[in-house]
């Protein structure tokens, strides 16, 4: 709890002065609002009813300057003006408070959001593979919002309530001790009541929230599954199911509202009772001359002013509990270690031969994914990788971008050990196209140029042409300016892959990796893309993971992986001579050419 509170204070870094300022101003405004009843008291008691009074010297002097009490009585407008002036200054302070606290809390919220976004991007690749997106987004949005709301409104309110309570009590004590004790009699009661109530009602709030979540889940499920609903003619069933959740939520909220109705009516009752007490006692004491009417008015005003913030305090304090929980949840994200950056990493040119020397890799200890992999690729060669699911093909490719670091052996590019090369530098020069690429909700053009902000139109068109997607894009109504995603076109899997290829090759990387990223493209387009790439540069070393025999057969080296081991390697001509995976796939292909697939279908 205390640790989280410290974290909250830490979040306010850079804006603490603004906060302090706004609390000071809200304090000043509060004090001024306590002055108004005093002015009225003075006007009524001293000016109108001519009671003598001890005034501080400076006030006494001012009043004398205005012609004394007699002068004031003839010019009552001065009292009115004083009241108005106080109100205006009060308003000015309130304005400054509002502006500063908004500035402070919004700056903190912005900083927090930016930090979160930045940190999430810097998390290691592995975290993103395993991430629970929904939970993460929840933390980044609603938890930040909880903190922001607390900082922007409630914290200052809390300060105000405390200042108000102390200042009012001091002034009241100065006027009449007995009246004071009666006036604040219910304060502890109402405060405890509020606090206990809001802690108790948390459960009801939580229940209602959960029920609302269930309601929207049911709705979402039923809408996304509308085909199933219709296909089985389950409208009535769905309707009943929805109605169940809908009425459950209705009843829970209704119950919650009844609880709140009870709270507010009871606390209103207590507050009114308190005011009544002050009126009756005030009347009694004023009638018997122990206090003046003006005194009683001050008490009445203060009591009304005090009760509202105190009733709110129960809520603010429970909200503070929630805020601290949110702070903890956010801190968990920020505490997850980001990708490490080695200080001594080099930014060597990424070119030359690539040598794998007994490379081992495991995601977790004792569970090897790659074992003792050794092979050499010359610059400009095309390497095809074949292997069953889970054989380690993708992991092998991820190593080349240092998305993961190998755990044993060595990989060198042009003689430089891969682990010594700066990660970001490396990634900029090694183009990796994922099998299921993510396109951003921008225009197609922006998507293609995303890794190369200063790319000209010609470069973008050229890249799309090589990726065989230019003509597809041109056919869209808005061409390259067509937005991708929910508000724009929905691209097919193959189109997405080709856009992803375009955005990768635009960088002219010296190493290109296609992680099964032509799988949704038809065979002819696949061949065309590869041909264009070769035409463009003979210096680019290319790795291709594919199931396609036509793709595999054209490579300079074919690597066959199984259970993390390199079991075969060589050219197409070498491998069709050896019995093994490659040969089997090849033989199916050739036999099918003769239309005999049924008979050649391997025994299952």
């Amino acid at each position: 709890m205390l640790k989280r509170f410290k974290l909250l204070i830490k979040l306010m870094r850079g804006n603490r002065l603004l906060y302090l300022g706004s609390i000071i101003f809200v304090g000043l405004a509060t004090l001024l609002s306590l002055v108004s009843p005093l002015i009225m008291r003075f006007t009524l008691d001293n000016v109108i009813y001519e009671e003598s009074v001890d005034l501080p010297v400076f006030l006494d002097r001012i009043i004398r300057g205005l012609g004394g009490v007699d002068g004031l009585r003839r010019n009552l407008w001065i009292c009115g003006l004083a009241l108005l002036t106080i109100t205006i200054i009060n308003g000015l302070f309130q304005f400054i408070k509002g502006k500063w606290s908004a500035k402070a809390s919004e700056s903190i919220a912005k900083q927090l959001r930016d930090d979160l976004y930045d940190h999430i991007q810097k998390l290691p690749y592995d975290n993103h593979v395993k991430a629970e997106t929904g939970d993460l987004i929840q933390r980044c949005t609603s938890d930040v919002e909880t903190i922001r709301r607390f900082l922007s409104v409630q914290l200052v309110e809390l300060g105000r309530a405390i200042i108000m309570l102390f200042a009012a009590i001091i002034i009241m004590l100065y006027i009449d001790v007995q009246m004071t004790l009666v006036s604040i009699a219910v304060v502890p009661i109402i405060f405890t009541f509020a606090l206990v109530f809001f802690i108790k009602v948390q459960k009801a709030f939580l229940k209602a929230d959960e029920s609302e979540g269930r309601l929207s889940n049911i709705l979402q499920e039923s809408l996304t599954g509308v085909r199933v609903v219709r296909a089985f003619g389950r409208q009535v069933y769905e309707n009943d199911k929805f109605d169940g959740r809908n009425s459950e939520y209705r009843d829970l909220v209704n119950k919650l509202i009844r609880l709140l109705a009870m709270y507010w009516s009871l606390s209103d009752g207590i507050a009114l009772f308190q005011i009544g007490l002050v009126v009756i006692l005030g009347v009694y004491r004023a009638a018997s001359g122990q206090i003046t009417f003006g005194d009683m008015n001050v008490f009445l005003s203060y009591v009304s002013m005090l009760l509202w913030p105190i009733r709110q305090m129960g809520r603010i304090l429970t909200d503070m509990g929630k805020t601290l929980v949110s702070v903890g949840r956010i801190q968990e994200i920020l505490d997850t270690p980001g990708e490490t950056q080695d200080d001594d990493s080099v930014k060597a040119p990424i070119a030359g031969d690539i040598v794998f020397d007994s490379v081992d890799f495991e995601y977790e200890k004792g569970n090897p994914v790659l074992r003792g992999l050794s092979f050499k690729v010359e610059q400009g060669q095309t390497v095809a990788i074949l292997g069953p699911t889970g054989s380690g093909k993708s992991s092998l490719m991820h190593l080349l971008q240092r998305l993961y670091d190998y755990t044993g052996g060595s990989i060198t590019i042009g003689g430089v050990e891969l682990k010594k090369i700066d990660k970001r530098w490396l990634r900029r020069h090694v183009g990796l196209v994922l099998q299921e690429p993510f396109l951003f909700s921008k225009t197609i053009k922006e998507n293609i140029g995303i890794a190369r902000p200063n790319a000209g139109d010609q470069e973008i068109f050229e890249a799309s042409r090589i990726a065989s997607v230019h003509s597809v894009i041109e056919e869209f109504d808005k061409g390259y300016e067509t937005p991708v995603g929910e508000r724009g076109v929905t691209l097919s899997g193959g189109q997405k892959q080709r856009v992803a290829i375009a955005r990768t090759i635009i960088n002219n990387s010296s190493i290109l990796i296609f992680d099964d990223s032509l799988s949704a493209v038809d065979t002819e387009t696949d061949a065309a893309i590869r041909k264009e790439l070769k035409k463009r540069s003979r210096e680019v070393t290319t790795f291709i993971i594919s199931h396609r025999i036509t793709t595999l057969s054209e490579a300079d080296i074919i690597l066959v992986l199984d259970e993390g081991r390199l079991i075969q390697s060589g050219t197409h001509d070498d491998l069709i001579e050896q019995s093994g995976l490659y040969q089997r796939i090849w033989s199916i292909q050739s036999s099918i050419e003769e239309g005999q697939a049924e008979d050649e279908k391997p025994a299952i």
Partner: protein, 614 residues
């Protein structure tokens, strides 16, 4: 979920909308009338308290007598009790009206959603509908109930104060309330600006959510492209405008509140000045007043300014409530594109009250007669399409994306209806029977199987709601799902998770097969999955498909070679026409389109299968 919720506001008051909204308020007329009554009472009591104080001042304090103080205290206590009760009624009744109205609107909305045709779902994102059903419905309920409470309370209190002040001292009342017209104008102006500002903030907020979403979903891609800085810059732009907008709104309300208090201060200062003179008997305009009256005026002036800001806020909110109403009702009022004719409904019942005893048995013959079809505002997909299928036949549809395969299937399911020609089931146009009749006799398995959260048992039972556990198990056994289900810790009671998220794709498919089989439909439609699943499951699924198809008229959008081979007839669809038709062997022999498709696509899958078999 759609992040960008449109927030269009028409300025004009749309009475037809409000009329429709009032229909939802009608069941609660009694409560609403009661609310207004309680509100007036609350307002009156609020006005009464200062009068009590005035009485105390003039009769006890000024006279220095305590006669009747006990009765006075009793009356005070009574008022407190009444007010306590009022508040209780106000909150609980208004709250009840709110939640019940929201419930009703959601209920009506959901019921209509159950009837809307697929063309609606095709062009309306689920997120949009969700927003209508959740936040818009909520806002409507809130506005009607709490808006009414606040308005009634505010107005009754203001009217009460005006009456009392005017009867106490007309001239002083006019002086005290001189600034009110100005306050009304200023309040309306500011509340509108503040609400507009909040609207901008909300919009930017959903952009931030969207950006987080994208940042997290695309994190892997970002890393491979080294795009972190660019993304962060763009993100900072959004959070920057969020900050600027939020501060702007905060400043606007920070200006507004002091203006209200200052105007109140002017009123108060005038009362103190003029009233004070009146108390001293120096004021020729207002005459002589008592101390109690002055006190009452001071209290009333402060009290009067309170509800004005609130009322202005409600009027500004009404505008956004109208926009909510517009969106909700646009959904509820969407006409049904596919609807049974009144005659059909009378004979077979509708989706909610079917007359099952009137339903004919399905034989299984299906015929397309010169069917043409175009999606609304789209190109012609099918033209003059004819096809005869005998009961029990298995038809495989093969063709590229967009060739019209899915359209044919959608037409069979009557998710869409032909725009020309007719589809006959057992020799009768299917529009002469109810939608539910057809769909109750239909088994439908989607390529991306959709399961509902709940147990496996619940999901299979979806096919036949009164299925016994034995029937469920039998269905699961038939499709070879029983083995994997019984291996799970909780067996058939295993929760599948939201959208079936806790199951693998293959498991989901098997469960969705069992779901279709348990209904024992005469017609079967299968949109085969292309997504890769592990070899073992794939084999299981293949055998399951064979079993499911036996004895049913079935249509398969086929991707797997083994499925296609087992079909009685293969239709190769290109641009909405059947260009080749026959068995696998016939078609290969033709060396035409099918042959090319086969060598290009299916062989590759065979290759992939071998890889997975390792």
């Amino acid at each position: 979920m759609s992040v960008f919720e449109e927030e269009l506001y028409s300025k004009k008051v749309d009475f037809t909308l409000w009329k429709q909204l009032l229909r939802y308020a009608k069941p609660y007329t009694k409560q609403l009338v009661f609310l207004v009554f309680i509100n007036v009472l609350t307002g009156i009591v609020d006005v009464f308290f200062p009068m009590m104080n005035r009485y105390a001042i003039d009769n006890f304090i000024v006279k220095g007598s305590l006669d009747g103080l006990g009765w006075y205290a009793a009356l005070y206590g009574l008022l407190v009790a009444v007010q306590c009760l009022n508040v209780w009624f106000l909150i609980s009744v208004a709250g009840k009206v709110e939640v019940f109205m929201v419930y009703d609107i959601r209920k009506a909305g959901f019921k209509h959603l159950q009837k809307l045709s697929f063309s609606y779902y095709d062009k309306t994102p689920v997120g949009w509908i969700m927003a209508r059903m959740t936040s818009d419905a909520q806002r409507l309920g809130e506005t009607i109930s709490w808006g009414l409470v606040d308005l009634a309370w505010g107005f009754s209190m203001m009217i009460g104060i005006i009456i009392v002040m005017f009867s106490l001292n007309l001239r002083l009342a006019l002086i005290a309330l001189a600034v009110v017209p100005l306050l009304v104008v200023i309040s309306l102006y500011f509340q509108k600006r503040i609400l507009g500002g909040y609207r901008d903030v909300r919009k930017t907020n959903s952009r931030i959510t969207g950006a987080f979403n994208e940042g997290i979903m695309g994190a892997k891609t970002t890393k491979t492209l080294v795009r972190e800085e660019g993304n962060l810059e763009e993100f900072k732009d959004i959070t920057g405008s969020m900050k600027a907008q939020s501060i702007r709104v905060a400043i606007t309300s920070s200006i507004f509140m002091p203006i209200v208090t200052t105007l109140g201060g002017i009123g108060l200062a005038l009362v103190l000045w003029q009233g004070g003179e009146g108390l001293l008997g120096q004021n020729p305009i207002i005459g002589v007043i008592s101390l109690g009256t002055l006190y009452a005026f001071i209290t009333y002036t402060l009290q009067f300014f309170e509800p004005i800001g609130q009322i202005a806020r409600i009027f500004a909110e009404l505008q956004s409530a109208q926009a909510s109403a517009e969106r909700v009702f646009s959904m509820i009022n969407t006409p049904l594109e596919i609807d049974d004719s009144p005659g059909v409904r009378a004979k077979y019942g509708d989706s909610f009250n079917p007359k099952r005893d009137k339903w004919e048995q399905v034989g299984g013959d299906i015929a397309f007669e010169n069917v043409s079809f175009a999606y609304k505002g789209g190109d012609q997909v099918l033209e003059d399409f004819s096809l005869k299928v005998k009961a029990g036949e298995t038809i495989a549809l093969v063709g590229e994306t967009g060739s019209g395969k899915s359209t044919i299937v959608n037409l069979i399911c009557r998710f869409y209806e032909p725009t020309g020609g007719q589809i006959l089931i057992d020799g009768k146009d299917y529009r002469e029977r109810s939608q539910l009749w057809l769909q109750s006799n239909l088994g439908y398995v989607l390529q991306a199987p959709h399961l509902f959260s709940g147990s496996i048992k619940d999901n299979i039972r979806y096919g036949k709601l009164d299925a016994t556990d034995e029937e469920i198990e039998a269905a699961a056994r038939l499709v070879n799902a029983h083995d994997f289900i019984s291996r799970l810790d909780k067996g058939y009671d295993t929760e599948v998770g939201e959208g079936g998220g806790r199951m693998s794709t293959g498991q989901k498919q098997l469960v969705s097969f069992a779901r279709a089989v348990v209904a024992n439909p005469k017609l079967f439609v299968l949109d085969e999955a292309t997504s890769s699943i592990d070899t073992e499951t794939e084999q299981i699924i293949q055998t399951a498909i064979q079993k499911v198809l036996e004895g049913r008229t079935s249509f398969i959008i086929a991707h797997r070679l083994s499925t296609i081979r087992s079909a009685d007839r293969i239709l190769v669809i290109v641009d909405g026409r059947v260009i080749e038709e026959g068995s696998h062997k016939d078609l290969l022999g033709k060396k035409g389109y099918y042959y090319r498709l086969y060598t290009n696509q299916f062989l590759e899958e065979e290759g992939a299968r071998i890889l997975k078999k390792q």
